[in-house]
């Protein structure tokens, strides 16, 4: 029976077939089911233990306080809101709905955490083993698409976790309904958690393709920020059941839609965002599957992805700007920070492999000198904009320019409200942009380091350039150094906008200095690439003559 099911599934996706063949044994299935049931039993037992029991009731002292007592019971006009009540038979009146809400909430934490962390761990461990063993290369040589293989991996490797999860669902669903939730809301909850799981499972696969090896470290790294989306989803889950339990906000708007005003809307919005991000991850997965040394995304893809991202951000920026005709500086700062981070992430995504860069340098030269000498400039620009093997500086600059299309009007609007603040914001945006380009140039130059773990060195180098001015400014502020000095240092950090309060001259000096640094770095990079290309060409030319 089981073999037949696996065979059928395997016809649709061979990778699932391989994963299920290894894992889906009757013994493993039994362990997964029993484990799931035991876990549910333990949760129920724990919460059952939280109920007030008649044995613990001391008849002398009738004041007993328990979360699950029915406090709404009134006796002859007296209020006992904080005391447990007994019925005629000596049993407590229990607020079962509250108890069910708590068990439901507990399961709503255990379920996504268990599902996501176990899936991520298993996927990373399995793929690392495949890479180490060398078997993954054979899969790559097959005519199967990346989608088929990775879908098989994601669905097949953690299959026992999924079975355990499926056996939790009936209790979770029952508690949710009993606690007063409707099916539509619960469906949106499952959709949101499912989308989050899919995004993180896909990201785990990509992490291994990028050279990640430590499964347990990955789980730790994922679990730290994971509580945030789950907390958000669950807080709205609680609010849907009992409005007193959690705040429902009408402030968070996306293009005028108050997405946090309704739990279903919030979950649906979250799901769409997770799925859109997953789509991006799958594009990268496909690229790395076909060519393990290519850039994570192509330059063309970066423009489209950035456009979508800027639109997404704009959805939050516009309402924050228009809030009661007075902009919300905190939200705008937060969004600008997110945008800065996203644009900085384009550096590792678009940074070409050193070999690719050398090859591009060599063959562009050959192509230009042999065929299209008169148009070499135009071809160079085209290459820099579209060719994934060329340096990514111009592409990153173009992406920054796309972000500017939104942020410059924002600062102009701010300028009308508060001139100084507007000017400072404008300066902060300009400085932030040039800082990203400096990081990018440094990362490119790092490609030419003659060291063994080049990627690690590049990361350390860029991290150093990011952290040194920030930490320096922090240290100076602690030792009560002059504010001007602290602000000036901040102008060279990702927090440039915070250092603009000192006004004109220091901003101008910092901007000029940054442009000078950028010019030197770019010139240095150009020289390195040219040298690298020339020497290889000569080497090959000499070889041919022999």
């Amino acid at each position: 029976m089981l073999a037949k099911i696996i065979d059928r599934v395997g016809d649709a996706n061979p990778q699932i077939f391989r994963e299920l063949k290894e894992r889906l044994t009757p013994r493993n299935i039994a362990i997964a089911i029993v484990g799931s049931l035991i876990m549910q039993g333990l949760v129920l037992l724990y919460f059952y233990g939280q109920l007030p029991t008649p044995d613990s009731f001391n008849p002398v002292n009738t004041i007993i306080n328990n979360n699950y007592c029915d406090f709404s019971f009134n006796e002859k006009g007296r209020t006992y809101d904080d005391l447990c009540k007994l019925d005629g038979a000596g049993h407590f009146f229990i607020n079962w709905q509250r108890w069910q809400v708590d068990v439901f909430t507990c399961l709503s934490w255990i379920l996504p955490f268990g599902l996501i962390l176990s899936s991520v761990y298993m996927l990373v461990a399995d793929l690392v083993q495949e890479e180490k063993r060398g078997t993954f290369n054979f899969i790559r040589l097959s005519p199967q698409s990346a989608q088929q293989i990775f879908a098989g991996k994601i669905l097949g490797v953690p299959i026992l976790v999924y079975i355990a999860t499926v056996f939790i669902l009936p209790l979770h669903l029952y508690l949710g309904c009993s606690a007063g939730d409707n099916i539509l809301f619960l469906s949106s909850w499952y959709l949101a958690i499912g989308s989050l799981w899919f995004l993180l499972a896909s990201a785990a696969v990509l992490y291994v393709l990028l050279g990640g090896v430590q499964a347990i470290l990955t789980v730790i790294a994922v679990s730290c920020p994971l509580w945030m989306p789950i907390a958000a989803i669950n807080s709205f889950a609680s609010s849907a059941i009992d409005p007193r339990l959690s705040p429902v906000s009408t402030d968070v708007c996306w293009f005028g839609i108050a997405i946090a005003s309704n739990a279903i809307l919030f979950n649906t919005f979250g799901s769409i965002c997770y799925l859109a991000a997953s789509y991006g991850v799958w594009q990268a997965l496909e690229r790395r599957y076909l060519n393990p040394i290519t850039t994570l995304i192509s330059k063309s893809q970066s423009y489209v992805a950035n456009l979508c991202w800027q639109l997404w951000i704009a959805g939050f920026v516009i309402p924050a700007l228009a809030l009661n005709h007075h902009y919300d500086a905190f939200s705008l700062g937060l969004l600008a920070g997110m945008d800065f981070t996203a644009l900085s992430l384009l550096i590792p995504m678009l940074l070409p492999n050193k070999q690719a860069l050398q090859d591009w340098s060599r063959y562009r030269r050959e192509r230009v000198t042999q065929k299209h000498r008169q148009f070499w400039r135009r071809e160079l620009v085209q290459d820099l904009i579209h060719n994934d093997k060329s340096p990514a500086l111009l592409a990153i600059a173009l992406n920054i320019a796309m972000a500017m299309v939104m942020w410059i009007p924002v600062s102009i609007v701010m300028l009308f409200n508060d001139f100084t603040h507007g000017i400072n914001t404008l300066a902060g945006i300009g400085l932030g942009a040039s800082v990203i380009l400096i990081y990018s140039a440094i990362a490119h130059l790092g490609l030419f380091l003659n060291v063994k773990k080049r990627k690690l060195w590049i990361t350390a180098l860029v991290a150093g350039v990011i952290l040194v001015p920030s930490l320096g400014a922090w240290f100076l502020s602690i030792i009560d150094a002059p504010t001007e000095l602290v602000s000036f240092l901040l102008l060279f950090s990702p927090f440039a906008a915070m250092g603009t309060s000192q006004g004109g001259s220091s901003i101008f000096a910092a901007f000029a200095a940054q442009l000078a640094i950028l010019a030197v770095l770019t010139h240095q990079l150009q020289r390195k690439i040219q040298l690298s290309g020339r020497s290889q060409t000569q080497e090959m030319g000499d070889g041919s003559k022999k």
């Binding site: 016809d11 077939f17 391989r18 290894e22 005519p143 050193k354 090959m540």
Partner: protein, 316 residues
């Protein structure tokens, strides 16, 4: 009509940092041929094979399989179905049975259920692993694992087989079995590109050879042509009579060179540049002058000698 080419490469080059592993290789292998790729370690054979197998992207140059161009950063799904690649290391899934392992790869190569069953039986029989079909891979010997890898490589009936050092590390019996399987595949019409350090095996199997040295393909031709062009013919002559008289008589023949009396024997070894008919004429002339010839044996320099001579000569 021109012979159809199973593989054609144009200016195929692969560079790793500053090292050019494969340098402007123009390779042409006709359909149905067994093409031996020989060369010392680091000559670029494995890199060339990996590029042909789509496991490595060329720095420059083009690859055509069966006339169709391999595209960069594309899945090349149709072309991959035509290829079977056996690398020099053969990682396997130790926890799967032989049958499940082959079944998995048959599915990866999109064989229909019916065809899959048939192929699995056929291939297991060909590689002599039918009795091991339910055994876990971990329990197989090295030779069996090698044969299983070959079975995996041919499960989808590729038209082009790329075998990189397929007999390395095998004992003589396993090597012989492996050779036999390759002969069977050749008879079935597969084009086979094989690299090996065991040149005697290649000499027995191949119809054409390519010699690689320092990333260059220094020679590529039919094996017969190579022997004709480069293999010096030798004749070993034994006599009961006077060796000096025999030597004198041989010197008189213009096709004979490098006459060498083998010390401690009554034998002479000479280089000979004539045809088989010329050799027969030589023997006839020796008998005609009443020399007591007891043995007249024509031999040729083997592939190993040619490789040593040619590879180093061309590369330097």
């Amino acid at each position: 009509m021109a012979t159809e080419l199973a593989i054609r490469t144009e200016d195929l080059t692969k560079q790793f940092d500053r090292h050019i592993a494969v340098h402007g290789v123009d390779l042409a292998v006709a359909a149905g041929e067994v093409y031996g790729l020989i060369g010392p370690n680091g000559a670029g054979k494995t890199t060339l094979m990996r590029m042909l197998a789509t496991a490595e992207e060329p720095t420059i140059g083009e690859i055509y399989i069966n006339g169709e161009r391999l595209l960069r950063d594309r899945s090349n799904a149709n072309l991959k179905r035509l290829l079977g690649y056996l690398p020099d290391d053969f990682p396997l899934y130790d926890d799967l049975t032989v049958w499940d392992y082959l079944d998995y790869f048959a599915r990866l190569y999109k064989l229909t259920a019916e065809r899959r069953q048939r192929r699995l039986y056929d291939v297991l029989e060909l590689v002599q692993l039918s009795t091991k079909r339910n055994s876990k891979i971990a329990t197989l010997s090295r030779g069996m694992k090698q044969r299983l890898s070959l079975a995996r490589t041919i499960i989808h009936e590729p038209i082009l087989l790329l075998l990189d050092e397929p007999v390395s590390g095998l004992d003589p019996i396993a090597r012989m079995q492996f050779r036999q399987i390759i002969k069977t595949l050749q008879e079935a019409g597969m084009t086979i590109l094989i690299s090996s350090h065991v040149l005697s095996d290649l000499a027995e199997l191949c119809t054409s050879v390519g010699i690689m040295e320092l990333g260059f393909l220094v020679e590529s031709c039919q094996l017969q042509d190579l022997y004709q062009r480069l293999s010096r013919q030798q004749i070993l002559i034994s006599t009961l009579g006077d060796l000096e008289a025999l030597k004198r008589e041989l010197k008189a023949n213009s096709l004979v060179s490098d006459i060498e009396i083998l010390p401690g024997t009554n034998q002479i070894r000479v280089g000979f540049s004539g045809t088989e008919q010329d050799a027969a004429d030589l023997l006839r002339s020796l008998i005609h002058v009443r020399l007591p010839i007891t043995n007249f044996q024509c031999t040729q320099e083997d592939l190993e000698t040619i490789f040593l001579k040619l590879g180093h000569q061309q590369a330097s």
